[in-house]
């Protein structure tokens, strides 16, 4: 995650909308982002966000998990409200919250990743490009949540494919939880970065689609972590 995903070097730009109710944070983030990330809109509430996203049609939405307005659903509500754009616009959740409930809720609503607000501008830029390219972005903490929710035992063949992680996916998640970047994960497991990305995307899909009883139960139980 330390090196920008290469896309910015190729001269590509990504159009983003920043959704956060703190104006100070929005301007700070804007200043921190790489010039290749073009901010095309900002919003501070759920309604504004849905409106701005529909009008600007950005590549990526940087979305705070906690937002005022709407029916109190915060970032999750923005994603469901912009469901029509989910194919072209991708959401990256950005939060100070450590609460598993918040994080898992936005991921399950359709966000492609989750990062904490304390990470550096370069890291956010990298994450934005990654999400724009269709990949998933997992912070160590999100990987920890995933491992906690799916359990650390690899899938049996008999299990529903969506309910467990494969041995390889577990390995990737563990390394990310340990603080490895995708590149380091690839090096450690002797696989290509592309393969790492594939695994992470698969995990994201499972996280979003699994109806695993434990997952929902876990999210409800561990609303505080």
């Amino acid at each position: 995650m330390t090196t920008p995903a290469g896309a910015s070097a190729a001269g590509r730009t990504v159009r983003v909308v920043i959704v956060d109710d703190h104006a100070i944070f929005r301007s700070g983030l804007k200043a921190d982002l790489d010039p290749s990330v073009v901010v095309v809109g900002e919003a501070g509430t759920v309604e504004q966000a849905i409106e701005v996203i529909a009008a600007a049609r950005p590549d990526v939405v940087l979305l705070d998990v906690h937002l005022p307005g709407g029916r109190g659903g915060g970032g999750r509500e923005v994603i469901t409200g912009s469901a029509a754009l989910l194919g072209t616009t991708r959401f990256l959740a950005l939060s100070v919250s450590d609460a598993a409930e918040d994080v898992v809720a936005v991921i399950r609503a359709g966000a492609r990743g989750y990062v904490t607000k304390t990470i550096s501008g370069a890291e956010i830029t990298d994450a934005v490009f990654r999400v724009a390219g269709g990949d998933a972005v997992f912070s160590p903490r999100l990987a920890g949540f995933v491992l906690d929710a799916f359990g650390t035992a690899p899938a049996d063949i008999a299990d529903d494919e969506l309910d467990k992680l494969s041995a390889r996916e577990l390995e990737v998640m563990r390394l990310i939880a340990r603080g490895y970047s995708y590149k380091e994960v690839a090096k450690e497991l002797f696989i290509s970065i592309k393969t790492v990305e594939t695994h992470v995307s698969a995990v994201l899909r499972k996280l979003q689609l699994s109806s695993r009883h434990e997952l929902t139960k876990w999210a409800a139980e561990r609303r505080l972590l």
Partner: protein, 467 residues
């Protein structure tokens, strides 16, 4: 009562001929099943007493499944209030002792007063406000038996009256029965009121609501019937029906008139209560913010020139606030993940590097886990000191054991290049883990260093494991 024999609970067992009463009874009393069954049959020929007894047990005794369910739910009402409310101070403050009747109103002694069940519970509590676990246990015990004893006393009373009548003693049944019905009904209804009020104070679980309504209705019916019989002087049915109709009509009218006030009053009460809860919450949050965040902000302003200090203060405050906001009250404190986080916080405070901790799973602390925490702390200190940047810590606890990974992005080092007299890595990390049946590996390269500590679950017993 203090020497209550420890018996298996009386439940109808699944090993049954008819309803499992006899085998359940046999298990409870510790007698052979065959004897109980024969005794029951013999008793059945004694004027049908055995049949009646069997039927009664069939109705009253739960099956094992039901019993388990009931016991699981029991803490919802009787224990919770006793534990979380301060002991209800009773006027006389009688000495501690299992005297279930002493707390009951004398006027109730003729009828089994179910409300006495609760009185008995609180009375039998020692006057000292701190209820020791033992006394709580005892109170539950005495409450359970109190119910049965009251029921038995009531039945004995009925039997005594019947015998007295058989012997030719004139018993004014005409007034005694309605009076008993009224008292019993009132007691049932009041007990219900008491229980809902307590439950409402403690938590708003509605587990027992249906039973509560049934009880209320039963109590009401008893009282109404008693009053009717008493007023009409056990006269003709026609009169009774008329009286019933009239009283219901009057009650209905009064209810209709008072309903809006009642509702409004109830709603006001609810709003007020909600408001009070909110105000308390807000006061608590304000107090906390004042003690922590505002102080830290003041400190930060005074040290604005020193970036290192500002970052450290902010991290420490963030950690503290997070701990306060996201703490799970249901989780036990002092488990392994808490200790690892505490060690990380210590390192962060001491050296100023951010130490991010991710934990998966958790376990209780043991002596060996203590060693793991110490080794992890040492590894974090090294990572912060020599790595220079942020440190990632990952703890995973599974059935196989506990693993801790401490990673930094410093320049790395060669273990063999560390001078022999430096004990940090060799002793405090590797040696310590080995002594406790675990192992430590250090993987260092130009991109950073990762220390892997592993503590298998069950090696404690093979000799030198425990130090």
């Amino acid at each position: 009562m203090t020497t209550a024999p420890v018996r298996p609970p009386l439940v109808r067992s699944s090993d049954r001929l008819i309803a499992g009463v006899c085998s359940g009874l046999a298990v409870h009393l510790g007698w052979p099943v065959r004897m109980v069954r024969i005794g029951m049959v013999v008793a059945a020929f004694a004027g049908g007493a055995g049949l009646a007894f069997y039927a009664w047990l069939w109705i009253m005794v739960p099956t094992a499944d039901e019993n388990a369910k009931r016991n699981a739910r029991r803490p919802a009402s009787p224990i919770a209030p006793a534990v979380s409310l301060p002991p209800v101070s009773l006027q006389s403050g009688p000495p501690p002792g299992p005297v279930p009747f002493s707390g009951a109103d004398p006027s109730f002694s003729a009828v089994p007063p179910p409300s006495g069940e609760y009185d008995a519970g609180t009375v039998s509590q020692p006057p000292a406000p701190a209820a020791a676990p033992g006394s709580t246990w005892f109170r539950i015990r005495s409450m359970r038996y109190g119910k049965e004893i009251l029921l038995g006393a009531g039945l004995l009373l009925v039997a005594a009256i019947l015998i007295a009548r058989l012997l030719g003693v004139e018993v004014p049944l005409g007034t005694l029965i309605p009076a008993a019905a009224i008292l019993g009904g009132a007691a049932i209804a009041w007990m219900q009121l008491d229980e809902t009020r307590r439950a409402g104070l403690v938590d708003k679980t509605k587990a027992d609501q249906a039973g509560g309504w049934a009880r209320l209705a039963a109590g009401l019916a008893l009282v109404v019937a008693g009053v009717l019989v008493m007023v009409s002087g056990s006269g003709s049915w026609q009169q009774t029906w008329l009286a019933l109709l009239a009283s219901v009509a009057v009650l209905g009218g009064v209810a209709l008139v008072l309903l809006p006030w009642g509702l409004k009053f109830w709603r006001d009460l609810e709003t007020e209560r909600a408001g009070r809860v909110r105000a308390t919450e807000r006061a608590e949050i304000a107090a906390h913010l004042h003690d922590s965040v505002l102080q830290t902000l003041a400190l930060i302003q005074r040290r604005a020139g020193n970036e290192h200090d500002v970052v450290r203060l902010a991290r420490a405050q963030e950690r503290e606030l997070r701990g306060w906001l996201f703490k799970d009250p249901a989780r036990d404190a002092g488990q392994l993940s808490d200790r690892i986080k505490a060690a990380a916080a210590e390192v962060e405070d001491g050296l100023g590097n951010a130490v991010d901790v991710v934990t998966v799973g958790d376990t209780d602390m043991t002596e060996r886990h203590e060693a793991l925490v110490q080794a992890s702390r040492e590894a974090m200190l090294n990572a912060a000191r020599h790595g220079g940047g942020p440190v990632s810590v990952y703890l995973e606890v599974s059935d196989g054991g506990a693993e801790v990974f401490v990673k930094d992005r410093g320049p790395g080092f060669e273990l063999s290049a560390v001078p022999q007299d430096r004990l940090g890595v060799r002793e405090s990390i590797i040696g310590r883990m080995k002594r406790h049946g675990g192992n430590a590996a250090i993987n260092s390269g130009p991109d950073g260093t990762e220390v892997r500590l592993r503590l298998p679950a069950d090696v404690a017993d093979n000799g030198e494991g425990k130090s």
